[in-house]
């Protein structure tokens, strides 16, 4: 385990964070605390409320009630200040297919306000880190999905954010590309970045330091992966997930 993980600085925290759409409660009283350098996994089936929760934390969606802070800023009142400190990548591939690889990076870096020298340097570094130098002048549309997702991650990191939100970032990507992707995530965490991921791939959850299992808008259980396994006597996160969800349904 990395020394940074022992740091007790909490960078993402919520108290009874709730979001309703009409009568439907999408997220019900969410309480989480994520420390700097942690990889925090949000697990749950589609529609469990993971994306709604992440959208509130990123300032894309206003909560109905409850409070939360990200990087020390209030998610309602200081949403814009949060935005320069976070990187966000969603399940939907969100780069421009009709721009070249390097043009996408240039644009996002530019939007984050990097000056032209920093921009040039960051583009170079990102391409290097993501192993995309050889396709830098290619049209983004021509890349395979796995590479596109790497590029999207690269774009989300252009401004060197402290916290990175990945919402089902590896959906539809092949296993090899997913491994690559997770290697990068671990590398980022090792460098003190906090990673907040949502996923429904249980094998990916094994890579997380801490997980939170969401089911029908509520968190059923959360804690360190190892601790939760011991607590419930389960060997894998997949077993753990099934166990917890079945219990949740019968309760």
């Amino acid at each position: 385990m990395n020394a940074v993980i022992e740091d007790s600085n909490i960078v993402v925290e919520t108290h009874d964070l709730t979001r309703k759409f009409g009568k439907f409660v999408a997220v019900d009283k969410l309480n989480i605390a994520v420390k700097r350098g942690e990889i925090f996994g949000f697990l749950g089936a589609n529609g469990a409320g993971k994306t709604t929760a992440i959208r509130m934390l990123c300032g894309l969606l206003e909560p109905t009630s409850g409070t939360g802070t990200v990087a020390g800023f209030d998610i309602v009142k200081q949403a814009e200040r949060i935005k320069s400190r976070i990187g966000y990548m969603s399940q939907k591939f969100s780069l421009y297919n009709d721009l070249k690889v390097e043009e996408n990076l240039e644009f996002y870096g530019g939007v984050y306000g990097l000056d032209s020298r920093a921009l040039k340097q960051h583009i170079h570094e990102t391409l290097e880190r993501m192993n995309l130098q050889h396709v830098r002048t290619k049209m983004t549309a021509e890349l395979p999905l796995g590479w596109k997702q790497k590029l999207a991650l690269g774009a989300a990191l252009m401004h060197n954010p402290d916290i990175i939100f990945l919402d089902e970032a590896t959906g539809g990507v092949d296993p090899v590309a997913r491994r690559d992707f997770w290697d990068m995530i671990h590398d980022l965490a090792a460098h003190g970045k906090t990673i907040f991921v949502t996923t429904h791939y249980m094998d990916e959850a094994e890579y997380c330091h801490k997980i939170s299992i969401m089911h029908q808008s509520r968190v059923l259980i959360q804690g360190k992966v190892g601790d939760l396994k011991v607590q419930t006597g389960m060997k894998t996160v997949e077993e753990l997930f099934k166990h917890v969800v079945t219990q949740g349904d019968s309760a």
């Binding site: 949403a79 935005k83 939907k92 780069l95 009709d98 644009f107 530019g110 306000g113």
Partner: protein, 373 residues
């Protein structure tokens, strides 16, 4: 500022890479101007006129030949018994019946009568055609009077002839292109800039890039300017193309100041781009955006006075036309183009456009949200 610059760069890269879009933006307006410029002809020509001459006199033949020599009429000769049938079938727009004794009455100094029958399904056409016929009768009467005077100079004191000499300003040849081309140019500018802004933003909503942008610290103002500025530049390119077609193809002289036209266009583009932006805040799909924008556009086009004179509208609706930004821009463009109007000549229109543009843009920025409530 640099954020906006990156936006402009990105939008231009996308526009110039999309060859089909480029054709739409650059070539279609040229074709539209040339085709519509010829198609939208507000003059009435080739009025189908039937003449029934029961007088068979020298005078009535003179009248007939006057109608024949006019560009405005296509003469149809038929038996009068078929008149109502021809009218019913829509073969005749207007007919003139010269009764027996027409020349005799005229010569004797009593009132000579002729009958005019008009198909008024299209009241506008009917009015204009009647005017033409009366014009021919007017000049005929004038010449007839002069001939009488030559023969009997002593009756001069009894005849009071009023001659109206009209002079036409700004468009001496009464060329209809002069009015329609600047109008179509403004119309195209309105449609292109409103739609392009609305559709572009909603498209980013659909593909998910808008959400990616909303999670960046970009300000509302930067976003709105970043989106509008590239399309404003595109709008100027459209306007330049339209001017070139008007001046080179239709040979319309440009009497005014290009700078003033550019300034007016800036005020106008704030309105259309602002409207597009406003549409994008309510529409979730490009289809919705297209319909919403189209309602705004149809209102603007119909109420602008471009196709039907504002004076013909009911009074209440005439007031409504003051809410139409196109009304001002068409007037301003025609004024600068044809009359060489100055800033002071157009100060009210420009003021209205400035208010409209600022309000529209401010409303769009106000309505635009970075987060969903």
């Amino acid at each position: 500022m640099s954020v906006i610059r990156h936006f402009v760069k990105k939008e231009f890269r996308q526009v110039f890479r999309d060859k089909q879009m480029l054709r739409m933006l650059l070539i279609v307006p040229i074709v539209q101007l040339i085709v519509l410029g010829n198609a939208i002809n507000l003059d009435v020509k080739h009025v189908r006129l039937a003449i029934f001459d029961h007088d068979h006199s020298e005078v009535s033949r003179d009248l007939l030949s006057r109608f024949r020599s006019s560009d405005y009429f296509d003469i149809i000769l038929a038996d009068q018994s078929k008149l109502s049938a021809l009218m019913d079938r829509g073969k005749i727009d207007i007919s003139v019946v010269i009764p027996e004794g027409f020349a005799r009455d005229l010569g004797s100094g009593s009132t000579a009568k002729a009958q005019l029958i008009v198909d008024a399904q299209n009241s506008n056409l009917a009015g204009i055609a009647t005017g033409y016929v009366n014009g021919v009768f007017g000049s005929f009467q004038e010449d007839f009077r002069n001939r009488m005077l030559e023969k009997n100079p002593d009756i001069k004191s009894k005849i009071h002839s009023v001659e109206v000499v009209s002079r036409v300003f700004y468009n001496p040849e009464m060329n209809t292109y002069f009015a329609t081309i600047p109008g179509i140019a403004v119309l195209l500018l309105t449609i292109i800039t409103t739609l392009i802004n609305a559709l572009n933003i909603v498209r980013e909503k659909e593909i998910g890039t808008l959400e990616q942008l909303m999670v960046t610290p970009i300000s509302k103002f930067q976003f709105v300017m970043g989106k509008s500025l590239p399309f404003a530049i595109l709008g100027y390119i459209e306007l330049a193309i339209a001017l070139a077609v008007g001046m080179l193809w239709f040979k319309i002289p440009f009497a005014g100041s290009f700078l003033l036209l550019a300034f007016s266009a800036a005020l106008f583009l704030m309105t259309t781009l602002g409207a597009g932006l406003l549409v994008s805040t309510v529409a979730q799909t490009q289809q919705q955006a297209l319909f919403t924008a189209w309602f705004f556009l149809v209102f603007c086009i119909i109420m602008s006075g471009f196709l039907t004179p504002i004076e013909n509208m009911p009074t209440a609706l005439q007031y409504l036309t003051y809410l139409d930004p196109l009304r001002y821009m068409i007037k301003v463009t025609r004024g600068i183009f044809l009359k060489g109007s100055t800033f002071f000549d157009l100060k009210y229109e420009l003021a209205a456009m400035a208010i409209y543009g600022t309000a529209m843009f401010a409303l769009a920025i106000f309505r635009f949200r970075k987060s969903t409530t």
